[in-house]
């Protein structure tokens, strides 16, 4: 039960941020409060799913789910841009910050019922690429470009000291047809150069080694 993404991240990266608790991320909007469905007015373009955008910044001592902060929700293209245009781009966030964009009802946590048997593809980017790549990734997700039914759960951009990391989470780590299709689309929408490593990690393995981005299975093309 102690397992959570943040403790794990904290383990390897502790020296960096001294001021992480200066704002009260703690009192979270989070957790399974029943919310009213978002309405999409007839003159807006509806998305296939309603999405929630979450934010985390590495906390000193808090549990991951307590540090999750809901930034906004949207169910149409217009509502998405309304929110997105009023946010700092991920590349401009402080180090050890993450945006998590997930379908409504799925918490960006390994332990969520929907994620439990899932996993994620990750790509490590050198500094300077995160904002553009994140935009391409989420536009593909919102536009249902992955063509894998309901497999895709959400996407994460993780800003770190020396690299930034993009992840796309899916429900079934064992579904190799779906995961390889997601990988191919991931690669295509990011226009990744040949030779880029793309890594997969089942959430169950993350729960075991308490690490988001270590001990992954690496694929290269």
């Amino acid at each position: 039960m102690a397992s959570n993404k943040f403790q794990a991240l904290g383990a390897g990266l502790s020296e960096d941020e001294e001021d992480n608790a200066h704002e009260n991320i703690a009192h979270t909007a989070a957790m399974s409060v029943k919310v009213k469905p978002l309405e999409v007015p007839p003159d807006e373009n509806p998305l296939q799913s309603t999405y929630c955008l979450w934010f985390t910044r590495k906390p000193s001592c808090k549990h991951f789910d307590q540090s999750l902060r809901q930034v906004g929700r949207f169910a149409s293209c217009e509502q998405f841009w309304r929110l997105y245009s009023h946010l700092v781009r991920p590349g401009d966030l402080q180090s050890h910050s993450d945006f998590h964009l997930f379908k409504e009802g799925i918490k960006p946590m390994w332990e969520d019922e929907v994620n439990r048997y899932g996993g994620k593809w990750i790509v490590r980017l050198r500094k300077g690429l995160a904002s553009r790549c994140w935009e391409n990734l989420i536009l593909a997700m919102l536009g249902e470009q992955f063509m894998v039914g309901d497999e895709v759960c959400g996407a994460v951009v993780s800003i770190r000291s020396h690299e930034d990391i993009l992840s796309i989470w899916n429900r079934s780590a064992s579904d190799s047809a779906a995961t390889s299709r997601i990988r191919d689309t991931f690669r295509r929408v990011l226009n990744l150069p040949p030779g880029t490593h793309i890594e997969y990690k089942a959430h169950n393995d993350s729960i075991k080694d308490l690490s988001s981005f270590r001990n992954t299975d690496v694929f290269t093309r």
Binding site: G72, E78, R82, S85, V88, L129, R132, G143, E144
Partner: protein, 117 residues
């Protein structure tokens, strides 16, 4: 026309349609293959990247979101970071027009990391 069960069912259900109002020309897709309001692919509402990017300039997408929480450095300027770098970076409340502009960092990256635009 035979009254086979299939035919009857089809006739009764019809093809689901949805009415989409176009408020400006910018909301029209570039390709004929794309439908305003999203293309139905199987049971999914599919949008091409170009269409989603066009929606960014729609008047409906410009109003500020409601209930945006104040998170310094994310949705609002961070006091600490404000003094660093060029003030633009953390001017949290980016105006929609400003949001559209391509920051200089993007231009640098393009030569080594070309994106299809």
């Amino acid at each position: 026309m035979s009254a086979s069960p299939v035919a009857t069912q089809t006739a009764n259900n019809g093809i689901p349609t949805r009415r989409v109002r176009i408020n400006s020309e910018s909301e029209m897709p570039l390709e004929y293959g794309t439908t305003p309001g999203g293309t139905m692919f199987g049971t999914k509402i599919v949008y091409e990247r170009t269409f989603l990017l066009q929606m960014r300039t729609s008047p409906l997408a410009r109003t500020p979101p409601t209930n945006l929480p104040v998170i310094p450095g994310v949705t609002a300027p961070s006091e600490k970071e404000n003094h660093k770098k060029n003030g633009k970076v953390n001017s949290g409340r980016v105006s929609p027009t400003k949001g559209k502009g391509v920051p200089s960092s993007i231009k640098e990256e393009e030569e080594q990391f070309s994106m299809d635009m």
